[in-house]
Symmetry: C2
Subunit: 323 residues, 2 copies
Amino acid sequence: MKQITLAHGGGGEEMNALINEIFSIFENNVLKEANDAAILDDLAFSTDSFVLNPIFLKDVNIGKLAVCGSVNDVLMVGAKPLYLSLALILEEGFEIEKLKIILKSIKEECNKAGVKLVCGDTKVVPKNKGDEIYINTSCIGKSIQKINTKNIKSGCSILVSRDIGAHGCAVLVERNNLEANIKSDCKSLKDEVLALLNADISIKAMRDATRGGLSAVLNEWAKLSNLELLIYEEKIPVCDEVLGVCELFGYEPYELANEGTFILCVDKKDEQKALEILKQFNANAAIIGEITANKKARVVLENAYGAKRILEAPKGELLPRIC
Amino acid sequence: MKQITLAHGGGGEEMNALINEIFSIFENNVLKEANDAAILDDLAFSTDSFVLNPIFLKDVNIGKLAVCGSVNDVLMVGAKPLYLSLALILEEGFEIEKLKIILKSIKEECNKAGVKLVCGDTKVVPKNKGDEIYINTSCIGKSIQKINTKNIKSGCSILVSRDIGAHGCAVLVERNNLEANIKSDCKSLKDEVLALLNADISIKAMRDATRGGLSAVLNEWAKLSNLELLIYEEKIPVCDEVLGVCELFGYEPYELANEGTFILCVDKKDEQKALEILKQFNANAAIIGEITANKKARVVLENAYGAKRILEAPKGELLPRIC
């Protein structure tokens, strides 16, 4: 590893290698837990930079994405998002009208998520040293229940909150000027997560399936728990439009990014209750698998005929600048 | 205002116009206070992105700068920095060896400042869509004393913690390959600020004089308090090397950026005590002026002969990518 490649930003194996080899100098008990947000006494803290290209998709722009991204990370550790920071890196020549549209989306999304924008920063870089606008948001939340990935154990059930791959597909469609009726799933997950936290459910882990998609989350969970995950392939909800785009470009829907879709791990006894709650928000929510007792850190996909294959962690460039 | 210009990132009048005209849609009680960090119950929260060019100065690199920047902002509102986030936007092709040096500086500076790095994010952008590395840090601190700029009132004294303009000069020297013995002032201000907070001093306001330098801070204070600030020009500490570089490039030292220098406003009765504390950390600390009772939001510079002139807020491109 001598130089940074686009694959280092893809959320797959190369990024994990970068984190494990280079960023490991920061090792501490909080970082080691590798949750979506840091769990700090009664606070949760997350940060994300957004380099989406193009900055405007059909129904979503980089501003909305930037709010949802950090807010959802805080929700994933069982905290209520409260405060948001906003830092912009603008390219010289960026149009003020575009900036206004993006800021309007940020404001609307902050209102929906119930977070207050409390601090900010703006930097400007010369032409060709940026790309219109890069956004960083960091979010502070107050802990309701500490959801920590280290609590995953065998026998638990795995659920997904809706059909997968919509955000990745929406970016593909936009970049390639395709005619396809696909909307990004980008949204704040506040309502569904708070509903789960307020129900009497033993939640073991939650993670939104952003870069690297479902496959990245499941493989991370397998690694962190050192257990085998068994996933029933035909239960994974994928809509026809996403399947079509995936075939066209040779992508696996499991690896496509999502921005408002999360994976949930609960006690087996609570799986139906959790599913019912998720279905109130999206009819495509599903129970897709379980944590087995097999002490092998891997993800096994079983198809409708009982045939099994390993679902590897994403690798390579995937789809750069998806978020 | 149709397009973003480099001046919008300069920390001067154009940036203020951008904030007042475009960012005002976010208006709320916290943002309105315009402190260096948001004051939230018992927490302080700050964010900053760093686009320094070049990324390595003589004794300081963008990594150290990124830690000090957000940590100092939290200190300025009277809080003890505790947690830091780190988000990187790396350009494809960036050398891993450079990244390692920067991360090492970040770690060292976190240790010095007593903050724990608890969450992070890495994005990669294609060549010519970034410039080696951009860094965002956000910092959470715990409030010791709430230092809020809105407490500034007439009769108070204004102090500066050391001689000004060193960081801006260090960047100029590096960019122009000059032979000049100037080191950036970049450092965490933890020790001096905690010493002030623990002394029995009535602190009205603190602000680190980063983009736009001393001049930007004083003009912001004049505006926020709607009072005239009287500054004794010959008391402002500027070292000979900085004066020399300023003459060469036609800059005012008052407008040059600092990254480890802060302006302090205290009750007149506490000015000597505050000065003594500051002098323990830097012999060039000085009392430089006072808040008058004149209800005109302006900064007046008085020279040794009693002649007065207005110190305007910085304007124009200044020195882009200073931090």
